[in-house]
């Protein structure tokens, strides 16, 4: 494989992998992300964001990831019904699951990151600049989250066979709605 082909595959593996195969591989990534994230104190408490938390149990880590995955899959399936004439639910579920794979990088990076206490940050936001590892983690988080969003976009594109502004508009709305729903569910089901 040439470097261009590898890059293309990294950005859109769904031309080759979809359905149950994508779901199986994606679930493996999600499980490993949950385990490593627990040790790294990285909570993926939203479809497109995450935070450091000192008190993160394995159960909570998996609960966050499950809520994220179910929220984004559910909203994308509804979006699929709106924008596409024919698609398979397993394709959206599988490709959306595999789109979570890049998050494993952040879970792993979290193990080597010293995060300032949230109360200290609230008192003095500049305290974050005292931790080099936290700054590196923050910088790293942007491309990783963008990579995951690109994967989700391509997942919807391939699964539903839709192109153009119809796809772009529907995806933006869907990702924002799924982020809001995941936040609400996490607040209602886990934090209360």
């Amino acid at each position: 494989m040439k470097s261009k082909e590898i890059f293309s595959f990294m950005m859109n593996p769904f031309t080759r992998i979809a359905g149950w195969q994508a779901f199986g591989i994606g679930i493996l990534f999600v499980i490993v992300t949950g385990v490593i994230g627990t040790f790294g104190h990285v909570a993926f408490d939203g479809v497109i964001d995450m935070h450091f938390t000192r008190e993160l149990t394995l159960l909570n880590s998996f609960a966050y990831l499950a809520i994220d995955l179910l929220s984004v899959s559910f909203i994308m399936i509804i979006t699929g019904f709106i924008i596409s004439k024919s698609f398979r639910i397993i394709d959206i579920l599988g490709t959306m699951t595999l789109s979570r794979a890049p998050l494993i990088i952040l879970a792993f990076a979290g193990c080597f990151t010293v995060s300032p206490d949230i109360n200290e940050i609230m008192k003095d936001p500049y305290v974050v600049f005292q931790s080099v590892s936290f700054i590196i983690f923050s910088i790293l988080s942007f491309p990783v989250i963008i990579w995951s969003i690109i994967l989700m976009f391509n997942a919807l594109k391939i699964s539903c066979g839709v192109k153009g502004s119809k796809l772009g508009g529907a995806f933006i709305v869907a990702i924002l709605v799924s982020e809001i729903i995941s936040k609400i569910l996490i607040l209602k089901l886990i934090r209360l």
């Binding site: 769904f14 031309t15 080759r16 992998i17 979809a18 359905g19 994508a22 024919s86 698609f87 398979r88 394709d91 391939i158 699964s159 066979g161």
Partner: protein, 87 residues
């Protein structure tokens, strides 16, 4: 490859003459090209493989080493091209 469009104005070409190689008889007229002949060689190859695979997208995806929705999207694209040519 059979030319399907005019190199000058890009309009769709028609068949003017057919010839029997055996007795040299020529049939002249103005005939439409078959719908399948208007497709690209890649699309024609896809349709051929699709028929050979009994119209199974699953078989096609494993043969082409592409995912099921990708193959279905390719088929939808060909259907749209055929509909456009029919118009």
């Amino acid at each position: 490859m059979l030319p399907t469009n005019c190199p000058g104005c890009h309009s769709q070409l028609k068949v003017k003459c057919l010839k029997c190689e055996n007795c040299e008889t020529e049939v002249s007229g103005l005939y439409d090209l078959p719908v399948l002949a208007l497709l690209t060689p890649e699309d024609q190859q896809f349709i051929l493989r699709f028929v050979i695979n009994s119209g199974s997208l699953k078989e096609m995806s494993s043969e082409l080493k592409l995912s099921y929705p990708t193959v279905r999207n390719m088929l939808n694209e060909i259907i749209n091209n055929i509909k456009a040519n029919e118009k």
